[in-house]
């Protein structure tokens, strides 16, 4: 069974982002970039399936400019077998990404697609569902557990009311939640080995996919700040403030 995983390069989750003064976006100069944490979990899950003999090959895909190749090398170092970089200078948005992945799915015929549930930059949480829709495949979103039984998978989804378990036939699309697994670190020998693995570059045009962004960002601003805190000395003072100043209890 071939598994396809898509990854995105994003601002590292520990970075406190700054909005550009001209309000056109986030200041990315000199900012540490990393693999989107949910995508790291997706790669890890694919690698675990392969280690259990439940997956034959892991193909990792990223869409964007040349800097994506860095993320692809990271995924290869974590255990993916080969990488595809779909090159575009356009801003990537979920619908365009889903269409691109669909074109690759038709070429590669994976039985399982594992995506992160959301990228921590634009926080959209859409691509997996869109891809499943375009393919008309079953979808298992926000999963914290995955079992493969032959031509079927069972997934546990983290939903608002608790945990929902679904069974679905393959091929299928799943999106990862945080508690699916704890990704490993890439070891130095694996980082070296990753440099030898295949990384194919395809231009978005050759796939015949329209990546034109549908949403236009007019401006990006900082949220209104909360005013600084008042420190209280003890429980009595806290209760007094909550009752007589804030009047919330």
């Amino acid at each position: 069974m071939k598994v396809l995983v898509a990854v995105k390069r994003v601002v590292d989750y520990n970075v406190k982002v700054r909005v550009r003064a001209d309000e056109t976006g986030i200041d990315l100069s000199g900012v540490k970039m990393s693999l989107n944490p949910f995508d790291e979990i997706a790669v890890e899950e694919a690698v675990r399936l392969k280690e259990k003999g439940l997956a034959s090959e892991i193909i990792v895909v990223s869409i964007g400019d040349a800097s994506c190749q860095e993320s692809l090398r990271t995924a290869l170092a974590l255990g993916a077998d080969r990488a595809i970089h779909v090159e575009t200078s356009l801003e990537t948005q979920p619908l365009g990404v889903a269409k691109t992945l669909k074109a690759l799915v038709e070429k590669e015929s994976p039985r399982l697609i594992i995506l992160g549930k959301q990228a921590i930059d634009d926080d959209f949480n859409q691509t997996g569902q869109m891809l499943a829709g375009l393919l008309r495949w079953p979808q298992g979103t926000f999963i914290s557990h995955l079992i493969r039984n032959g031509e079927e998978i069972e997934v546990t989804r983290e939903v608002d009311g608790g945990l929902e378990t679904l069974k679905m036939p393959l091929p299928a699309v799943v999106t990862t939640d945080l508690r699916l697994n704890e990704p490993r670190y890439a070891t130095l020998p694996n980082i070296m080995k990753a440099k030898q693995k295949s990384l194919e570059v395809i231009s978005a045009e050759t796939l015949g996919v329209d990546l034109t962004p549908r949403l236009k960002t007019l401006k990006v601003v900082e949220p209104p700040p909360r005013k600084g805190g008042l420190m209280v000395a003890n429980v009595d003072e806290l209760l007094d403030k909550l009752q007589h100043e804030a009047k919330v209890i």
Binding site: Y13, K16, V17, V19, I26, F38, P94, K117, I120, D123, F124, N125, Q126, T127, Q129, M130, L131, G133, R136, P138, Q139, T141, S144, E154, R157, E158, V159, D160, G161, G162, E164, T165, L166, K167, M168, D177, L178, R179, R214, L215, K216, L218, K219, V220, E222, P223, R226, G228, G229, L230, M231, A233, N234, V235, D236, L238, L239, A246, V248, I249
Partner: protein, 314 residues
């Protein structure tokens, strides 16, 4: 230029998030049609018909909607959706699961997690865990939008009565998931995203058992219980307690964060609360920078005292 609102319900009542989405729908100044899908949608559909802004209720009833699948709902809604300019649903796991699939098959973008509607084509949504707010516009013929429920008041029920119309269920012709089970975290407490008081615990509690201290405070205040990602990862509380960028967004009148340091991704889910109280032993914890009232100290001493004194003064 009608608007279609996809209602989330528990087979009897509309969820609080749906009521917030009803309020958001008013900003479009368009006739609002609500679609209620379920195995027994009658009661929720009746409830939807009461709201003044609602002009029509579509009711889709089928036993296969007892545990509705995004696959079935998408096929069922696809034709209906083409008659609308705007399609709204709450940005809950229900809406997040369904709307991208629907939008993709309509070949339009989805504008997710909208917190402000500037005009019919211009929306504000948080990005980077709420550390920035993006104003976006779309020229797609149908605007498909999920609404962040905490950003809008819950709509008040009127006494109007919108007409009902039945709409057929359409099963997806492609392979479908099969529902196996739902494990609900049963609780007598208010629902986390709509509670007026939320008390939240973090890694500082050190164990599942110690969360009893927070439960005692929640019971006293009639509050919902939330948690940081660290507390959920450590197994102190179930996953659906998680407040943050990847968990739930809450905006209660009072949010009490106990033993939570205040990681960026946690703040993303609660910083729109009206009053924030932070209790932490580390005076340098980032949570104090956004708290209205901060108290430095040992939660194992402070919590029992706070719980006891609230009883005395209440």
């Amino acid at each position: 230029m009608p608007l279609l609102l996809i209602a989330e319900h528990d087979q009897s009542n509309l969820t609080a998030s749906t009521l917030a989405t009803l309020t958001a729908a008013k900003a479009f100044s368009a006739p609002v049609h609500v679609v209620v899908m379920g195995s027994s949608p009658e009661k929720a559909a009746e409830e939807a018909a009461f709201f003044k802004s609602v002009e029509k209720v579509w009711m889709i009833k089928d036993p296969r909607l007892a545990h509705p699948l995004a696959e079935d709902m998408t096929e069922t809604l696809l034709d209906l959706a083409k008659g609308y300019d705007f399609i709204l649903a709450p940005s809950t796991t229900f809406g997040k699961n369904l709307l991208p699939r629907l939008a993709a098959l309509l070949d339009v973008a989805l504008i997710s997690d909208v917190i402000q509607i500037q005009d019919k084509n211009t929306f504000v949504r948080p990005i980077y865990a709420g550390n920035a707010l993006a104003t976006v516009t779309s020229n797609d013929p149908i605007k498909v939008i999920t609404i962040r429920p905490t950003a809008f008041e819950k709509a008040q029920k009127g006494n109007s009565s919108a007409p009902f119309e039945a709409c057929p269920f359409k099963e997806s012709s492609s392979p479908l998931p099969i529902f196996v089970r739902m494990e609900t975290s049963s609780s007598e407490r208010p629902e986390l995203t709509s509670a007026s008081i939320v008390v939240s615990g973090g890694r500082g509690f050190q164990s599942k058992e110690n969360f009893a201290l927070l439960e005692a405070l929640a019971d006293k205040l009639g509050a919902a219980i939330g948690a940081s990602r660290a507390a959920v990862d450590a197994g102190f509380v179930p996953n659906d307690y998680q407040v943050g960028q990847t968990g739930k967004a809450v905006a209660p009148t009072l949010y009490i964060a106990v033993g939570i340091s205040g990681a960026i991704q946690h703040l993303a889910g609660m910083k729109d609360s009206k009053i924030i109280v932070a209790i932490n032993k580390d005076p340098e914890a980032p949570i104090f920078q956004i708290a209205d009232y901060g108290l430095v100290g040992d939660l194992f001493k402070i919590l029992p005292e706070l719980t006891a004194k609230i009883k005395k003064t209440a």
